[in-house]
Amino acid sequence: MKLTKYLFAAALAGAALSFTSCDSSKKESKGALGGNLAERSFVAPGEHDEFYAFVSGGFSGQLSVYGLPSGRLFKVIPVFSVDGEKAYGFNEETKAMLNTSYGFVPWGDSHHPDISQTDGVLDGRWVFINENNTPRIARISLETFETVEIIEIPNTAGNHSSAYVTDNTEYVIAGTRFSVPVPQRDMPINEYKGNFKGALSFLKVDPESGEMDLSFQIMMPGFDYDKAHPGRGKSHGWFFYTTYNTEEAHTLLEVNASQNDKDFIAAINWKKIEEYVANGGGKMMPAKYAHNIYSDETHTATSTMKTEVLTVEPKDVPGAIYFLPTPKSPHGCDVDPSGEYIVGSGKLSANVTVHSFTKMLDAIENEKFAGEAYGIPILNFEDVLAGTVVQPGLGPLHTEFDGKGNAYTTFFISSEVVKWKLGTWEVIDRKPTYYSVGHLMIPGGNSRKPFGKYLVAMNKITKDRYLPTGPEVTQSAQLYDITGDKMELLLDFPTVGEPHYAAGIPADLVAPNSKKYFKLEDNKHPYATLNEKDVKVVRDGNTVHVYMTMIRSHFAPDNIEGIQEGDKVYFHVTNLEQDYDVPHGISMIGANTSELLIMPGQTETFVWNANNQGVWPFYCTDFCSALHQEMQGYVRVSPKGSDVPLKWSLDDE
C-alpha cells in the first residue's frame, strides 16, 4: 500500500515533506484515502480557476459558465430562454434574438456547446450551441460572454446532431433528429417510410465576424440523426453522424426502432459537397427561417426572415456519402484527435464499436459495398471496423480523448466512466458516476489537442447525492483527475438545468480577451444619450421617448412631468460609466417587463405603460455604489389631455 508508506514517512519526516504535499502536480493515485482530494479541486479565495467550462443548461435553454477545478458557477449566459436578470428577451434590444419563423419563442432546449477552432485546436473566440425544439444554433462571443447570433434551421425537427465545428470552424453543423415531410405538408403519419426526410445542415462561419450562413442542406433518408462529429486531422473534410430508427418507424420507436441489428454512421465528405455547390449544384427551395444578429455597437439585435435554402440530394453527388453499419442504435459519435478512429456507441450494445477512417477510404476506393439505402452505398461492417472494446459496461453513450492515446466512454445504464486504450481496445480503468451519466467533457477532448487534465461527467439522475430539494433533484456534474493511470473523483458540483454537454478551455485562451466595458464613443445605439446635457423627453402622439443617463449615483433626468394616462413610455437608458464592473439597473413600479441591467457604456430600453395618474418612482436595481439607495426618481402622470407641460429635470435644472 503505497499510500500507507507515504503517509507514514511523511509523518516521521515532518517539515521536509510538508512542502511536497502542497505540490498539485503530483501524479500518483491516492485511492479513496487520498488526503489531498479537496486540495486538488480547491481554488483559494481570490485565486482563479485553470479552465472555463461552458456547460449546457439543457431544458433551461441557457449556457452556464463554471470554473475548473473548483466547480464554481460564474455566470448563466441567456441563449434560448428569456432571462429577467439580464433583461434578455424582455428589453426592446434583445427581443429580436428570440424571433423565429413561429414568432417570438421565449424558451429553448440547449444541448451541445462547441468552442471555435483553428487547425483543430480551440481558439477561444466563440461558443456555438444548438437548440433542439425550435431548431436553432446560437453563437456566443467569448469577449462579452453574450449571445450575439441565433439562426433558425428550416426543414428540421429536433436539431440534436448539432452544433459541432470543423477543424478551422469552416462550418458549424445542424442535423434533424426527427425526420419530417420536406416541405411540410398534410399527409398520413403512417406513410412516413420513404417519404420523410432527414435534413443535415452546413452553416458557413465567417472567419472574421463569426457570422453564420446556412450554405446547404443534404436531404438524407428519413432516419433519426442523433449525434455528429467532424473529421479531425487526416479525416478533416468529412463529417460523421450516428443514426437510429433506420427502420423508419413512426410509432412506438422504443420497440420498432430497435429491430435492426445494426444502424448506420453516415460518413459525409462535405468538401466534395461544398465543391458541388460551388459549381452551381443543388436546388434552391422556399423556406422560412429567422437569422438574428446582436450588435455590440448598437447594443441591439436585428432579425431577418430568410426565404429560401439550397438543398442537395445525395444521389446527385456520387462518392460523397456512405453508410458505416454500426451495432444497436448508436448514440455517441466521436472522432479521436488523430482523425483515424470513429467511435460509435451502440446504446443498446454491450460493446463499443470503433471504425477506421483509413479502412473506410480503402473500402470506398475498392468499391466494397454491402448494398445501398436510398442510393447511398453501405460499406461492409468488417471492412471498416478498427476494433471493438468488448463489454466495457452497459449502455455506452459518449467518448472523449486525453491526447495521450486514451479514450473515456460514459455508460448510462451501469453509471460509470471507462478508460480504454485506442488501438489495443483494452480497458484500463473504470470509475462509478452518481448516477446515470450522459455526456462527459475533457477540455479540448473532442478536438485535435485535448488538455487531458480533468474530466467532467454530467449526470442525468442525482438522487441522494445532495440535500433534498423537493421532488426535483439537484442537477449535477462530477470532476475527475485523469492525469494518472487511474481516474480519481475529486468533486461533485450542482449545475443549472440538465448539464447536457459541455465544452472546456484553458482560461488563459479566453480571459485576456474578455471585454471590461463598452466605450461610450463606440456606442451607436439609435436612442443612446452619450452626454448628460443631451437628455430629453420627446412626445410622439401617445408614445413618449425618455432619453436617460445613469452614473454613480443618479439618473438624468430624475424628475419627469407631463406624461399622460394611456401613454406608452420608452425609457432608453445609457450607462455613462467607463469603469469595469459598474453596471446600473433600472425598473419602475407597474412595468410589465423585467429590470434592465446595463453595462458601462451600454444603452438599453424598457417600455412602461402609464396606466394610472399619480407620481411613480423608478430606481436602480443593482447595488452600484455607496449611494445606490439614493439612485431614484419620479414620473408624474396626469389625466389625458392635462395641460401639465412635458418637462424633465435633475436637481431642478
Binding site: A10, S18, G35, Q578, D579
Partner: protein, 161 residues
C-alpha cells in the same frame, strides 16, 4: 500497522500539511494587513490641503510640466473629454455630485489632478486630500478610464476656467 494508528497518523500529518500549506494564503493575508495598517490620521480638508504644492497624489503621473502659455488646442480637446466623461458629476458653475473644477489649478498640482482622474480608487485609499474630499462629498469619484493624454488635456482645460 492497524487502521486506527494509520488514521491517527494521517490526521496528524494532514493537520501539519494544512498548517504548512497555509503559506500561500498567508501572503494574501499579509497583503491585506499592510493595506489596513495605514489608517488615516484624523485631519480636516484644510489641514490636508496645506501641503498641496508638493502633493502629487498617488498614481501613474509623477511629473507634469506646464508651459507658461495655455495650449488652447489641447484645452479645447480637454473640454470635449470633460463634457463627455465628467460632466455628469462635475459642473463648472456649481458644486454638483463632485466639486467644480473652477480654480482647481490654484489648489492642486497638475500631477494630483491627473492621478485623481486616472486612479481615483488609489487616491481615495492613500491620498489625504482625496480622502477628505470623499468625506465632504460622499460620492466616490468614478474612474472613467481616460488615457493619460486625455487626462492631460483635461488639466489644460481646467487652466482656462
Amino acid at each position: 500497522m492497524n487502521n486506527h494508528k494509520l488514521n491517527t497518523l494521517i490526521l496528524l500529518t494532514l493537520a501539519f500539511f494544512a498548517t504548512s500549506c497555509g503559506g500561500g494564503s498567508n501572503e494574501n493575508g499579509e497583503g491585506e494587513t499592510v493595506a489596513e495598517a495605514t489608517p488615516a490620521a484624523p485631519m480636516t480638508l484644510e489641514e490636508a490641503e496645506k501641503g498641496w504644492k508638493t502633493n502629487k497624489g498617488v498614481g501613474p503621473i509623477k511629473s507634469v510640466n506646464l508651459a507658461a502659455e495655455i495650449d488652447q488646442t489641447l484645452a479645447d480637446a480637454g473640454m470635449v473629454i470633460f463634457e463627455a466623461k465628467c460632466s455628469a458629476c462635475h459642473k463648472v458653475e456649481k458644486k454638483f455630485i463632485g466639486p467644480s473644477p473652477k480654480g482647481i489649478m490654484e489648489k492642486r498640482t497638475p500631477e494630483w489632478v491627473m492621478n485623481m482622474i486616472l486612479n481615483p480608487e488609489g487616491m481615495v485609499a492613500e491620498d489625504p486630500i482625496a480622502r477628505q474630499l470623499l468625506m465632504k462629498f460622499s460620492a466616490p469619484m468614478a474612474n472613467q478610464s481616460l488615457t493619460e493624454d486625455e487626462a492631460r488635456s483635461v488639466v489644460e482645460y481646467f487652466r482656462t476656467l
